[in-house]
């Protein structure tokens, strides 16, 4: 029993309508910035499964039925590439995001000096290679439709035609509503992800049915496959390796794979997950292929088309619902491939072929309007979608739609593999040149066309059947399937060997003998070293000047008014301007070009910007900076060395500070123990005499008085010691808070001399004035200055134990300071101790106080900004010199005495 055509049509249309609603809904949410789940790695991975087309859904089973395990190579190649994502895909994705790459052709042209010609050639190759692939989808939809409505497989051209028309309309509605500035299509990605689930579910359902409904268990289903497929070791020969290579190349180079893997990628996190999840998806898909093939071979008539087992198995078993699910699965694989493929190809056609032409035409017309280029590009994208599907339809008609699905797909794989040499050389070899890439690509393309593409028409298109059999002009060496007498190989192996091999060889040879232009060198370095260079750091290398107004007009024409205004406003803000247009710095022009490249491709953007900016110069020094790895390494190590020097310096400072703190701490401990010792001596004598007085009531009055006098004297000493200690700590705490005045130093000195002489306690001292400075204003504190004078004069009296003690005081103004010299004729201070007299508790002679007088005096003078020095006296004694800075204003002229 079969289904009516109307039912199947209705189901297909409902399915397409649901997909469209999903895409529309997602696009709306994305526009409002609510697209977070779209960035999830799972959605990204599912969108990668656009790799699994109708070829997988129908053709893999056919391939397994015809040649056993060979089908697995198509999924093992991509598995290896994704498992090794760290090696290649990560780099391509990073480059794609950094340089706003829009397609595989854009990637290659951008790397080789943003060459427009190279981009156009690459586009041509991509369109040609996609043609059989799209024909394959049309063929599978046509066949499956014919089978499910109960007819034979007629390869009806009308069904294929309407399928193509439907898909074109669908893709135009889907993919070209806006010219997105990033070429990202959130709605499409969501729809593709949904289709990935649909097709996997359908395949698993049919697989389960084949295993348990028909074969009766897994081992049975698998062994029937292999016996029927006449499996032997020869499967794992050169064809096996070639297929692995082609599928690995295709997962990178197919325009639609590049679109979903690189262009639609939003973060490298997605890639990390896809590295295992995508191979897992492929594994799941492949796991059910063999059981279906086995069940089909066991139960279907021998003339049944194995490509349709997925559909005919449930149909012949009367499972109607399962058959419809299988049809939808196949339909969904075909539509997702066609949508993404045609979007990617139409982007390439409009950016690399139409945009340069339309820019030229529009500039002839001299009427420049906002968004006009954008409108032209959108229109061309729609036409390009129709054209690409039309070519696929033509291929289907010309080949009669009779080939095995897998063999048609492999023609496309070999075609896109021509991108591989330029791509790999471009991102790993700085020396690859534009001339090399272009000649390599052209060589490979011509060889592919001649050895694989044209012969696939079986003599109905350009090459006649005789030419295919006997070679061009009957020359045996030029036979398409045995070029240069290379016979005996499988046609696919033969074509792959010649086209990709010659492509790579020509690329390498021509690159070795041609020179890189500065722009190629720059782009080459940026691509090869994408992980080392900072994005934005290199923007200023290309030096151009342009009027910002011209650039703004250009931006309006391509991006539209609003997007252009937003771009320029953000650039102006980045330059620190609050209003108006940004300055046309080289960095801005390069950034602007990169933004445009996201819409129209690197080559067109470069040409457009240069038309406004005039010629460019590439700063050779900057270029050398980027290019010269050695210089870069040197700079890095220099920076490191500077950093470590800085660290060492800081560490040394810290060590010094630590030392200082530790010694201060030690000084403090020392001071405390000295203080307690100093306090202990008088306290001990006070206590002992007080005890004697208390315990001996029979002491005579004289002794009593003597002891009381000792107690009093010691108490006074204690008091003065405590005063000194208080002064000392006070000075330490408030060194800076002593209020300073402008005072007359001579007056202070006079008073101090009188006080000190009166306090000398009756010792006879000869006092002499030497030279006097006369009235002088100093900046100091009167009481404290006087304290210093009194202290030094009393010292001079106290320590002068000579037979004829004498003191002489001189004062003068010298070098902006008031200087007082106090000299005695005592024993003096030996040279080695001169420094130490200013230390705390240092006592030179037995007479006198605690040894705090001089340190306190020095400290006081330091708070005035003055000093105390010690010189040997003119005769035997010591000579202290006290210096106080003069007051800054109103210094009275010194009078000579």
């Amino acid at each position: 029993m079969t289904h009516s055509a109307n039912l199947i049509l209705a189901v297909s249309l409902i399915y397409v309508a649901l997909l469209f609603c999903l895409a529309w809904f997602v696009d709306r949410r994305a526009a409002r910035g609510r697209e977070r789940w779209l960035h999830s790695p799972v959605v990204y991975t599912l969108s990668l499964s656009v790799y699994c087309t109708a070829w997988t859904f129908y053709g893999a089973v056919g391939s397994a039925a015809r040649s056993g395990l060979e089908f697995a190579t198509i999924y093992l190649g991509p598995t290896l590439v994704f498992v090794g994502w760290w090696w290649l895909i990560r780099k391509i994705v990073r480059i794609g995001r950094t340089h706003r790459i829009t397609s595989i052709a854009d990637m290659i042209s951008s790397r080789y000096g943003k060459s427009g010609a190279l981009a156009a050639i690459a586009t041509l190759v991509a369109v040609m290679a996609a043609t059989p692939y799209i024909a394959l989808q049309l063929q599978s939809v046509t066949l499956s439709f014919e089978v499910i409505i109960g007819g034979g497989a007629e390869h009806d051209a009308r069904i294929a035609f309407w399928t193509a028309v439907g898909m074109a309309v669908f893709t135009i509605l889907f993919g070209t509503r806006t010219l997105d500035e990033n070429e990202r299509h959130y709605g499409v990605v969501a729809a593709i992800a949904a289709e990935a689930i649909v097709k996997l579910t359908a395949l698993i359902a049919v697989g389960m049915f084949a295993i348990f409904g028909i074969s009766g268990g897994l081992p049975e289903s698998l062994s029937t496959t292999l016996t029927a497929a006449n499996f032997d070791e020869s499967v794992f020969g050169s064809r096996w390796v070639t297929l692995l290579f082609l599928s690995a190349a295709a997962i990178i180079c197919l325009p639609r794979q590049f679109q979903v893997t690189v262009v639609e990628n939003t973060s490298e996190r997605q890639l990390v997950t896809a590295s295992w999840m995508f191979p897992f998806y492929l594994l799941l898909t492949s796991a059910f292929v063999l059981p279906i093939a086995g069940a089909g071979l066991a139960t279907m008539p021998s003339d049944a088309n194995p490509d349709l087992f997925v559909l005919t198995l449930p149909l012949s078993a009367g499972k109607q619902e399962l058959a419809i699910l299988a049809f939808i699965g196949g339909f969904s694989s075909a539509t997702s491939m066609v949508i993404v493929s045609t979007i990617a190809l139409s982007t390439m056609v409009s950016n690399h072929i139409i945009a340069p032409i339309s820019m030229w035409l529009l500039s002839l017309r001299r009427e420049e309007q906002s968004g006009d280029v954008m409108r032209v590009l959108l229109m061309t994208r729609r036409f390009a979608i129709v054209a690409v599907l039309g070519l696929g339809y033509l291929y289907f008609i010309l080949t009669g739609g009779s080939g095995a699905l897998a063999s048609i797909g492999l023609i496309a794989f070999c075609g896109v593999a021509q991108f591989l040499p330029s791509l790999i050389a471009g991102i790993f070899w700085r020396g690859a040149t534009k001339a090399g890439a272009m000649s390599g690509l052209l060589t490979g393309f011509v060889l592919w066309t001649y050895t694989l593409f044209l012969p696939s028409f079986d003599g109905t298109f350009i090459l006649s059947a005789e030419t295919i059999r006997d070679g061009l002009f009957g020359i045996g060496m030029l036979r398409p399937h045995a070029l240069a007498g290379f016979t005996g190989a499988d046609p696919l192996v033969h074509a792959t060997f010649w086209s990709v091999g010659a492509n790579a060889a020509v690329l390498i040879l021509v690159s070795l003998f041609t020179r890189l232009s500065p722009l190629e060198r720059l782009q080459g370095t940026l691509f090869v070293d994408v992980f080392r260079s900072e994005p934005g750091q290199t923007l200023g290398v290309v030096r151009r000047s342009a009027a910002t107004e011209d650039l703004f007009i250009l931006a309006q024409r391509i991006l539209g008014r609003d997007a252009a205004a937003a771009l320029f406003a953000s650039a102006a803000r980045a330059q620190g301007k609050t209003s108006g247009l940004p300055d046309p710095s080289p960095a801005f022009i390069s950034r602007f070009e990169r933004e445009l490249a996201g819409s129209v491709g690197a080559a067109s953007a470069h040409a457009m910007v240069n038309r406004s900016a005039g010629g460019e110069t590439i700063s050779l020094t900057d270029l050398m900076d980027i290019a010269d790895e050695a210089a870069k390494l040197m700079r890095t190590s220099q920076a490191l060395a500077a950093k470590s020097r800085e660290a060492e310096h800081t560490a040394a400072q810290l060590r010094a500070a630590n030392e200082r703190l530790r010694s201060l701490d030690m000084q403090k401990d020392e001071f405390l123990s000295q203080v307690s010792h100093e306090l202990r001596t008088p306290m001990t004598s006070v206590r002992s005499f007080a005890e004697i007085l208390e315990q001996s009531p029979d002491l005579d009055a004289d002794t009593r008085r003597r002891f009381a006098a000792i107690i009093q004297k010691e108490s006074i000493r204690l008091t003065s010691l405590l005063d000194e200690i208080r002064d000392m700590s006070f000075l330490h705490e408030d060194a800076d808070s002593v209020p300073l005045d402008d005072i007359d130093g001579e007056k202070v000195l006079d008073v101090a001399v009188e006080v000190a002489l009166a306090a000398s306690g009756g010792r006879r001292v000869a006092f002499n004035w030497g030279q006097r400075a006369g009235p002088v204003l100093v900046r100091a504190h009167a009481d404290r200055l006087s304290q210093v004078f009194i202290n030094l004069i009393s010292n001079a009296i106290k320590h002068n134990n000579g037979p004829d003690p004498a003191i002489r005081i001189d004062s003068r103004v010298v070098d902006g300071a008031y200087e007082v010299a106090i000299e005695d004729n005592g024993p003096g201070i030996p040279e080695g101790l001169r420094e130490r007299v200013f230390e705390r508790f240092f006592r030179h002679s037995a007479a006198g106080g605690a040894g705090l007088g001089l340190p306190i005096s020095l400290r006081i003078m330091q708070t005035f900004g003055g000093s105390i020095g010690l010189e040997p006296g003119r005769s035997s004694g010591a000579r202290f010199i006290i210096r106080t800075p003069l007051a800054s204003a109103g210094i009275p002229p010194p009078e000579s005495p």
Binding site: A72, V81, V83, G84, P219, V272
Partner: protein, 85 residues
Amino acid sequence: MRRKGTPPAPDPGEQALAARRLREIAFVLPFVGLALITPPIIHIFADSRTVFGIPIIILYIFGVWAALVLSAFRLARRLREEGDR
């Protein structure tokens, strides 16, 4: 994002070495996979032996495949943790 059980302050040198080894494994993995599924190694399993009724070559290819997916899964998790540090 540090998993439970990792020491609070791992040696940075040790960590850098581990990260580097991880990247080297990620680098080598596809080549190991390639060697396993191409001649001559694959010929070892390309005959009519069966295990539980299933041809050994099918078990071998899908086994290598599953092992690759599993290794990639574990690597991806570790590499992402590295990236978070």
